[in-house]
């Protein structure tokens, strides 16, 4: 069997010009003629020599840190931007969902938007007509079908958008992180729909930061780093490799520039998960620097999940204990984490002198990943739907009751 998608030596170079504006203006163009192109131009290889095959019916996850080249790869595969080098052969129709609701117009009604968006995604008019009722059913907005989109809530817009996309029937479906939005209930519905799609024999390329979703949906995964493939193989192996590469020892590190407005700020934050499920700890190391005099302060840590839901807050000491100092001060904190389901979590750090007096608040400064289930021997995946904490539980006594 021939692969449905063949990628050979794909590379993409971007020119980073250090211009004042985002786009070229004629003035700059003319100026560069006179300066003989002495503008600072930097070549940046977003992708550099990627080769891989995808077999029909396969679901492949593409993972990597921000800026690893995932989105560029998807853009080339969906023909939005051309490669600088290399080639790609696709043996089937490609539909790409780099965004939900592309082309949605606030002035058009829900019905009109379904038609326009569907057609943009490559559906024929007859196809949309046939699936119209199903799309409406799935989205649950039938009451507002003839209302302008601008009167929809953002959740409703999203549901409508995903519903159109869910009924695409291409041979190859490319999805970029679109599940990272929306309420959990609807997310679960979408993941379920995507599983159906992959079971019906279609090929899926799925980019996500949500490792749990990648494991759920894909057997194989590709790990990108700095525009090249670092690892390719079974999804669980690749994810493990990813964690070990970027999250070993120091899981996540944040460093900030010195010239900040706050009276005190976090110079460095490092977090690392230690121990094994269900008893895990989060080690946090903060280096705090004062820019000018401030009152004695204390720390708080907020932990949220991959979709931004706050899960818990840790305040090691309620009393202010960090005095003003001309030298940076290091504080090490240990947080006992409850048994958490696999997901990527974000840590926001706060320093203040009183619960109403914030000195510096860094939202989602660092993060960590949990990859193993807190429940030993669990083979079915955890879903957000059932919450994020798995408290230890046991049967104390069990017998028949007459």
């Amino acid at each position: 069997m021939k692969p449905i998608l063949e990628v050979r030596d794909l590379a993409k170079k971007y020119r980073i010009k250090h211009l004042s504006g985002g786009y070229l203006s004629l003035r700059e163009r003319i100026r560069s003629v006179f300066t003989f192109g002495r503008d600072k131009v930097e070549d940046f290889w977003a992708l550099n020599g990627l080769s891989f095959d995808v077999m029909p019916g396969e679901s492949i996850g593409i993972i990597g840190r921000n800026g690893a080249g995932k989105s560029t790869l998807l853009k080339i595969l969906s023909k939005i931007t051309p490669p600088t080098r290399g080639r790609m052969v696709a043996r089937g129709r490609i539909a790409s969902l780099l965004e939900v609701g592309t082309g949605f117009h606030p002035e058009l009604s829900g019905r009109e938007n379904i038609y326009f968006n569907g057609s943009l995604l490559g559906m024929k008019r007859r196809e949309i007509q046939e699936k119209f009722d199903e799309i409406i059913d799935f989205s649950g907005v039938e009451k507002f079908l003839d209302t302008s989109l601008k009167h929809y809530s953002s959740g409703m817009q999203l549901r409508l958008a995903f519903s159109v996309a869910a009924f695409l029937e291409p041979e190859i479906l490319i999805i970029d992180e679109v599940l990272a939005v929306g309420d959990t209930e609807f997310q679960k519905k979408c993941l379920g729909k995507m599983e159906d799609v992959s079971k019906s024999g279609r090929t899926i390329l799925f980019v996500s930061h949500n490792m749990a979703a990648v494991v759920n949906l894909c057997k194989r995964a590709i790990l990108l780093n700095q525009g090249t493939i670092v690892k390719e193989g079974a999804a669980t192996d690749t994810i493990r490799h990813y964690q070990s590469l970027f999250y070993s020892g120091t899981i996540s590190r944040f460093e900030s520039s010195s010239n900040r407005d706050e009276d005190a700020y976090f110079k460095i934050i490092e977090v690392a998960v230690t121990g094994e499920q269900p008893s895990i700890k989060l080690d946090v190391k903060c280096v705090i620097a004062s820019t000018r005099y401030h009152k004695e302060a204390f720390l708080a840590f907020d932990i949220s999940n991959s979709i931004g839901v706050a899960i818990m807050q840790a305040i090691p000491v309620m009393e202010p204990f960090i005095p003003y100092s001309t030298y940076p001060q290091q504080v090490e904190v240990e947080i006992d984490l409850p048994p958490l389901i696999p997901d990527s979590y974000k840590v926001s750090v706060w320093i203040g002198s009183h619960n109403t007096e914030t000195i510096c608040w860094l939202k989602e400064a660092v993060g960590f990943e949990i990859n193993t289930s807190p429940t030993q021997g669990r083979s079915f995946p955890h879903s957000h739907h059932n919450g994020f904490l798995v408290p230890p539980s046991r049967i104390v006594h069990g017998k028949a009751v007459h």
Binding site: T102, Y115, K124
Partner: protein, 275 residues
């Protein structure tokens, strides 16, 4: 049932025109045009009536100033008929040109997220102008009756051809400006001036015979819209057409079309990176 499609994206080989692909995407032409027409008249109390009211008001203004106050000759036609017949095509050209020149920038969000032949965007925005032409034409017919203006049978041939010339004249510069606008946003500011200059260089409010300065005359016939407007008026006025002038204007339109399309297609690949 399942059609075997094979896409090849190769950094070294690119087709300039893929007509089959354009044909496959034919429905999208319709949807883009339909969307733009819908949006244009959404939340307006008068709706499509605006398509008719705008040229009607322009006709009244021009008739008052140029016909009555300045007494500009009009090839023996009642001035309102003269100016309206010119405005019919001119409005199609000017709104088609302005729409298509801004179309790529206005649809940047879509271009960055979904692939389809980019040519659909400027072409559809010209189709929106064509729709307005048809609406205005509905008003043109009673106007002819009102002034009891005789129409020669040649109109059956001349009018569609004139319209075609007008669309060709719009498409070339429209595509060129659309592509340039993505690269250099300066063109956003150039376009209104360009349209204004072309308006005075096109015999909409005055007959060509009024211009005697030779340089101005050549500038006039270089405008691709010259042939369209003259041909459109021919069945009404019966004024003789200068064949050389017509051919120069026509060639100018076709050369601009070729330049516009080729430039558009050659830069189209990088729209998503530039937009």
């Amino acid at each position: 049932m399942v059609e075997q499609v094979e896409y090849v994206v190769d950094a070294n080989r690119r087709k300039l025109f893929d007509w089959r692909e354009l044909w496959n995407y034919k429905e999208l032409f319709y949807f883009f045009t339909w969307r733009d027409i819908k949006i244009k008249y959404k939340q307006t109390a008068l709706g499509f009536l605006w398509a008719i009211l705008q040229p009607l008001l322009m006709m009244l203004i021009f008739t008052f100033f140029f016909g009555r106050a300045l007494n500009i000759p009009s090839q023996g036609l009642p001035y309102p008929v003269f100016v309206f017949s010119g405005l019919l095509l001119w409005n199609t050209f000017s709104s088609g040109l302005t729409n298509s020149a801004n179309s790529m920038v206005n649809n940047a969000q879509i271009i960055k997220k979904i692939y389809f032949p980019r040519l659909i965007i400027p072409v559809s925005s010209i189709l929106v102008a064509l729709f307005d032409f048809l609406m205005t034409f509905i008003l043109f017919v009673p106007l002819l009756f009102f002034y009891q203006q005789p129409v020669a049978w040649e109109a059956i041939l001349c009018w569609p051809i004139a319209l075609l010339i007008c669309l060709v004249a719009t498409l070339g510069p429209g595509c060129l400006l659309a592509a340039l606008n993505v690269k250099y946003r300066d063109f956003r500011y150039v376009i209104p001036f360009l349209v204004q200059i072309l308006f005075f260089l096109t015999p909409v409010i005055y007959p060509v015979t009024l211009i005697s300065h030779p340089v101005l005359q050549y500038l006039l016939i270089l405008s691709p819209m010259y042939a369209g407007v003259e041909l459109f008026r021919y069945p009404l006025s019966g004024a003789e057409l200068n064949l050389t002038f017509m051919l120069i204007s026509l060639s100018s339109g076709i050369i601009l079309l070729v330049i516009g399309l080729i430039y558009f297609k050659r830069t189209e690949y990088f729209f998503a990176d530039l937009a």
